[in-house]
Subunit: 361 residues, 2 copies
């Protein structure tokens, strides 16, 4: 995919500017790289944005990226410098109002170089705007998710028994890259047998055996956007306990996915899914978070949890990933990347792939 | 590789503690994840270390990593919390002296939660200690570099003409992973024809043609340690200008590598290599930095440049990567990861691979 259009980038900046104006701020110095990318289109490793509420913004990067910035960044003044924060600070002008800075990521040392200015906290304003995806972002996420599940489908044609976790993980990653992923979205979790009970297991040389549960948490990246998907399969006919915990997770996960509608409150969804696992008698073995926003970052706002009382807006993308982890025995997680749609419509599962307990040779 | 030993980790912490004592500090709150890994062995994504100059340190992580921390982190008290900085701050006790915090990475928001304490800047003390690698680190770097050049050798058996940059980049990455890399060290730069003039090019669908220069900047990661290597080859017999710029880069790079000895001053080495390119008439086309330390980070201290007047110590690892970039035509870079050895001994090139201009089919 080529980058977002000039209009899309301008619309993103406009959305941030509206929130800054509501707070009476003169502008925002954006120094968090992923936020800079979101607002400018710049995909390099060093950049900043001075975004005033009046007038044209300034994009800052160093000399390595002069040509790339000219290609990727429309609608902004370009300033080449090695001193992004210092030069950025000097452009924070034009008003007696305070400017906001990204205090959640700006380092103490960089902040001290702005101290002649009165500055306020950005309060994660860009992260907040990023929760709702525009058309470009939804398309990139769709593509990343489509590649992911296509690769999984090919992998699960098997055989898998007799191969190491590491080998199978590499195989899956290779398939995603061959299908057009620009990179893998994160280090693949591929956990067999007792390892499947470890929520964030790193693939090892353990050889996959008949009777194992195999938990695969993986995803492709496209145009900077991350897919996030987990399926747990069984190698051969399942034991009763495997069937039981898989069914409990599947029921809870399906309920969670269906609850991701416009206006839903994340803490309510969290309670709903936990209630499902509790009713089945397995809540004590669900030891991770329920899910998270996903987009330019693999984990981003909004997050599930008992304290998130916001309301989901259309075109928010989140993961839904309950699990049951029985230490020393095995575990099951089922995870989808889900798109919240408009009032009255069902959520769209972007990682569309069967959730039944598949038996693989 | 398994992780560093308890003794190695203790020796790293002791080296930091000595420097803290020299400054009269009571201890250091380590919040930079890569520094936490270096000093504790912890490979997860969320951790901090309270390192007092007297007594036992405290390792902090969240509940997801309880088992992993018990496995990976020897010799420290373990504290499970979601509030690493807050709890870390409460453990900064035991003395009326100031504690240091990592102000170059600690966010303004996190810092504000420590403001009841008198704190000093760590002044990159852990990064400074990390410049000199211990035996474990050298072994990991050796292995990462060996895998990298072995993969390159297999790739260059060809054929490459007629394949896309993206396809060839994926092929190289796959080979590194198959040879035992835990991941690629960074996104591969594979730049053909005119693209080779772009220092940090992303692989595209451009098909590699006869007569192209092909610049390949790549590396494997092993146990967290990064290899960094570049070779530029030509597809078929080279044109005179290709031969000329390659020879100039090769001569400058070889001189630079030989200069990486104990006691050398990075700014002097920088001047030496630039002098070589200048004498050949190409200095204006060398538009990037000369190199950087490499280890747990792909770019780390020390950096080359006109202002770095430190002296290289034995067991420092650096890249040496001059280049000539002719916009619209093509470019050449040759880069090695190099180990500085003891006084009087020549540096060791860890990415051992021919630097001649190879003609590939």
């Amino acid at each position: 995919m080529t980058g977002p259009s000039a209009d899309q980038l301008q619309a993103r900046r406009d959305a941030v500017v509206r929130r800054l104006r509501d707070r009476g701020l003169a502008g925002l110095l954006v120094t968090t790289l992923v936020n800079v990318r979101y607002l400018t289109g710049f995909t390099g490793s060093n950049g900043a944005l001075v975004l005033p509420t009046e007038g044209t913004g300034v994009f800052l990067t160093d000399g390595r990226y002069q040509d790339q910035a000219a290609d990727e960044v429309p609608g902004l003044e370009l300033l080449i410098t090695r001193d992004l924060v210092g030069e950025g600070g000097r452009r924070m002008t034009g008003s007696s109002d305070a400017w906001a800075v990204e205090t959640h990521t700006l380092s103490v040392d960089d902040h001290s170089r702005l101290d002649e200015h009165e500055v306020a906290s950005a309060e994660r304003v860009v992260e907040s705007v990023r929760e709702v995806k525009d058309e470009y972002e939804v398309e990139a996420l769709r593509e990343a998710c489509a590649i992911s599940v296509q690769a999984l489908g090919a992998l699960l044609e098997g055989p898998l028994v007799g191969r190491s976790e590491r080998d199978v993980a590499r195989d899956l990653e290779w398939r995603m890259l061959s299908l057009g992923a620009e990179a893998i979205a994160f280090e693949t979790i591929l956990a067999s047998g007792p390892h499947s009970a470890v929520p964030h297991h790193h693939p090892t040389d353990r050889v996959i055996e008949s009777g194992d549960l195999l938990k695969i948490d993986f995803g492709a990246r496209v145009a900077g956007y991350h897919a996030d998907c987990t399926r747990t399969v069984v190698l051969g006919p399942p034991a009763d306990w495997q069937r039981e915990i898989h069914a409990a997770v599947r029921e809870a996960q399906a309920a969670g996915v269906e609850a991701l509608v416009e206006g839903a409150v994340p803490s309510d969804v969290d309670a709903l899914v936990r209630g499902s696992l509790d009713a089945a008698g397995w809540l004590d073995w669900f030891t991770t978070g329920l899910g998270h926003g996903v987009g330019l970052q693999i984990h981003e706002d909004p997050f599930f949890g008992p304290s998130n009382a916001g309301r989901l807006a259309p075109r928010t993308t989140l993961t839904m990933e309950p699990g049951i982890y029985l230490p020393g025995r095995g575990g099951v997680r089922i995870e989808d990347t889900v798109l919240v749609t408009s009032q009255g419509q069902r959520p769209v599962v972007l990682t569309e792939f069967p959730t039944e307990l598949l038996e693989i040779a």
